[in-house]
Symmetry: C2
Subunit: 480 residues, 2 copies
């Protein structure tokens, strides 16, 4: 047995035993990512990057369909710009990387590696905007950002990550608000229809909102371990930055005004969400829409006459419509290959051997249900298309079921504590919306307000945590 075989058979820690270890095992063994020599910075390997490319492709199309254009702003931001919006600098300064030297020379002013680009973009917008006729500005950027993190976990929290950041300007508050919600809905649709992850959408509390925002909206997903993942945010920044950066335009009425402003982003963190929402003790389970390989063809007894020819014929046929791999490696057994493709979360596996060929059929294996069935060679193309669609839908249904089973109502602080100890998940509860109450919940239980959902329910009149009058219903959870 070669070195690779040994690596392979060493087990993935079962998620019930140690969820963080399960996560670490899965991402390493499936070649999504690797640790780099710089602490907290990860290398995204081809298999992980291909997932990101599929997410990008979907989102980029949706952004363009809704009128947005891509551009690119500098990586480095002068310290003086970062400081222009007071809340913003307070939020980000502790976690930025500082460039102090260019070549041999010490810089007159420190530059930070962008942690997000509101400041540099607003500086440019203040030069570009003249008249209401120029509005709206609908721009997006795909790039990497750096936020110095003390403790990191691949995809979920790293000192550098890939993302997109949209930055728009509008004539009125209402238009900015509409844009904020539109983009949140594009994220939600992507999460549900592409990643097969159901999300709760709503507004962040004052404590949890983006540094400098008027209002932050979020989509929150639930992971297998009952912890929440903030999977995307969209901010109505109102005139906070446009005032600080003196962005003005001549309005229809001849008055100089500050425009209204939004920003919104999702990142490679979504890949962490996919792993933790769909994965199982065999490894990854990837939704077909983002799986780098949708179908793996494994020949059985490939040395026997006709097997490789038939497998290659099948491969050529399927590859016109699907992302297919033909696993023709000679130094691995079919059983080993089955395990590997399962671990890598490939939605469908086709097994083809001499007996199958005799019967003019193949065996089709589904990663989500672990079921195998014989399919005739004539109908394999159609069956693959059908099953990929089924798997995509089934994963969303399974994830919704999981989330619903882990969603609770509470009417007292004790109930919250008990749930978080014994069966963590989303907790719906009425809430007073006060910061001191929120701080207290977090201090005692580590639980945060995930969002005030758009879809409200009336569960009572008083806040179960402090007894004050309730203003709203919120989702509470421990979070990544």
């Amino acid at each position: 047995m070669g070195k690779k075989d040994k690596q392979f058979v060493s087990e993935i820690t079962p998620m019930e035993v140690d969820f963080p270890q399960w996560y670490t095992d899965v991402i390493r063994k499936t070649d999504l990512v690797d640790y780099s020599p710089v602490k907290g910075f990860m290398v995204i390997k081809p298999y992980g990057y291909a997932i990101w490319e599929n997410i990008q492709q979907h989102l980029d199309r949706r952004f363009k369909e809704t009128g947005h254009k891509n551009c690119y702003f500098p990586l480095l931001i002068p310290e003086s710009l970062l400081k222009k919006e007071a809340e913003h600098v307070e939020g980000f300064a502790p976690e930025v990387a500082w460039v102090t030297h260019g070549g041999e020379e010490k810089l007159a002013e420190r530059l930070c590696v962008r942690p997000t680009s509101e400041t540099i973009i607003c500086e440019m917008y203040s030069k570009w905007l003249k008249s209401y006729r120029d509005l709206p500005f609908l721009y997006n950027q795909w790039c990497s950002v750096v936020r110095w993190e003390k403790s990191t976990r691949p995809f979920l929290r790293t000192s550098e990550f890939l993302w997109q950041e949209g930055h728009t300007l509008h004539e009125t508050y209402d238009e900015a608000q509409d844009e904020t919600i539109q983009m949140l809905n594009i994220y939600r649709e992507m999460a549900e229809e592409v990643l097969a992850i159901p999300v709760v959408i709503g507004q962040k509390s004052e404590k949890e909102k983006f540094a400098g925002a008027h209002a932050t909206y979020t989509m929150e997903a639930l992971m297998h371990d009952g912890k929440a993942l903030q999977a995307g945010t969209s901010h109505n920044l109102a005139q906070h930055f446009t005032t600080a950066f003196e962005i003005t335009f001549l309005d229809r009425d001849g008055e100089l005004k500050h425009p209204y402003h939004t920003s919104w982003g999702v990142s490679t963190r979504l890949i962490g969400g996919v792993i933790m929402a769909h994965g199982d003790n065999r490894g990854l389970v990837l939704p077909p829409k983002i799986a780098p390989t949708q179908v793996a063809i494994v020949p059985i007894a490939s040395h026997k006459g006709g097997v490789m020819e038939k497998a290659m014929e099948l491969y050529s046929k399927l590859k016109e419509s699907f992302r297919v791999e033909l696993d023709d490696r000679e130094n691995y057994s079919p059983g080993w290959k089955f395990n590997e493709w399962e671990m890598k979360g490939v939605p469908l596996r086709i097994e083809i051997g001499p007996k199958d060929i005799e019967n003019n059929q193949v065996m089709l294996f589904r990663r989500d249900t672990l079921e195998k069935e014989a399919v005739s060679l004539e109908s394999i193309h159609e069956a693959v298309g059908q099953q990929l669609e089924d798997i995509q839908n089934n994963l969303l249904l399974k994830a919704m079921k999981m989330r619903d089973e882990k969603t609770y109502y509470v009417k007292s602080f004790d109930e919250l504590k008990e749930i978080m100890e014994k069966r963590p998940g989303f907790v719906k509860a009425m809430w007073c919306e006060e910061r001191s109450c929120e701080d207290n919940i977090k201090a005692e239980t580590g639980v945060t307000v995930r969002c005030i959902p758009f879809q409200q329910e009336n569960l009572g009149d008083s806040c179960p945590f402090c007894g004050k009058p309730a203003k709203t219903m919120a989702y509470f959870a421990k979070a990544y």
Copy 2:
């Protein structure tokens, strides 16, 4: 007249008068790019970025067709890694940006913002590679890099630019050499077939090769002002880095060996090349394959009954196959719009007014030839497709003609000096290949060896610059 109109009618400096000013005028007036508050860092605006996206799309497809996969490596590289390959650090250390602080803390080791990623990638490859069975490694990365430049010009030389960098490992020298040349050919094909820019391909001199390379290959293009642009490079790095980074694999014969290594890249510099190879005194001239807008429809007397309806109908029809804009802005005259679309280099303009509709036709204007013809509404779709193809081909032919007219042979140093003074361009000459000769030519004339072309000609036996025996024919030019 509004502020925008005034900006517009101020002229583009004719290229014969002041070529650098012509370039600056064009890029600013056509909204490709803007200067940022950080000296030497540019903002790529949507119109410029869309050109980059079209280049990316073509190359990414070609990379994948030839078996390469994308991944992502960290932005920041520890100083100790940069220092591992001696020539490499000497070449790059003077122009890197240094991160010294993460948040409030001073770092134990400085990190440089990647100027190129050989070092961090080799560090990872040394962990990943075990056996000859793992080879080849065929990976690419799309990202931005930072090189601290003293004097900068948008797209051509900036302290940050966007690029792709491919990094591959191979079992043998020959395989690495084949890869190096294959990728150079993919670049050449892209330059000629997509950018419509003819290039000379060949090898760099020892002086001009990449810091740490065994051999550097290049494609060199000629600009309107007779200066050369290095438009893409592909390096055979042999075992320079793989030895320094102790990358080994167990070969078929049971021996531990260092693999052979290549890297190759093109950048947003290509956009500068497109501007300077095709542009004219009216502004940009964009090849249809990369033009963000291929066809601009300008309605004439749009308030008259039926005009806007017909224009919109045409727009809907054409947009299924082409990148089309319908210019329905109300506060600009058709004449103003014509000028603007010409300046922005849009390959085709369609004018449609009441008279045209009466005659069941439109006027079709070509940016490259400035010719206008009537086309019947029935055949407009076909005509647009045909003309875009014609324009793409014509631009390449024009650029080849320009280059050939500006390519000279010299047999003496005086001839070189005279040409460079009076009618700069590519100069072909025999060469001794000695560094002292090369240094001397550069010191006296500012001319560098652009490449030793694959396609050799025998122009004599001695070096016209120093009189020593000639070893090869080379291309000489002043360069960006």
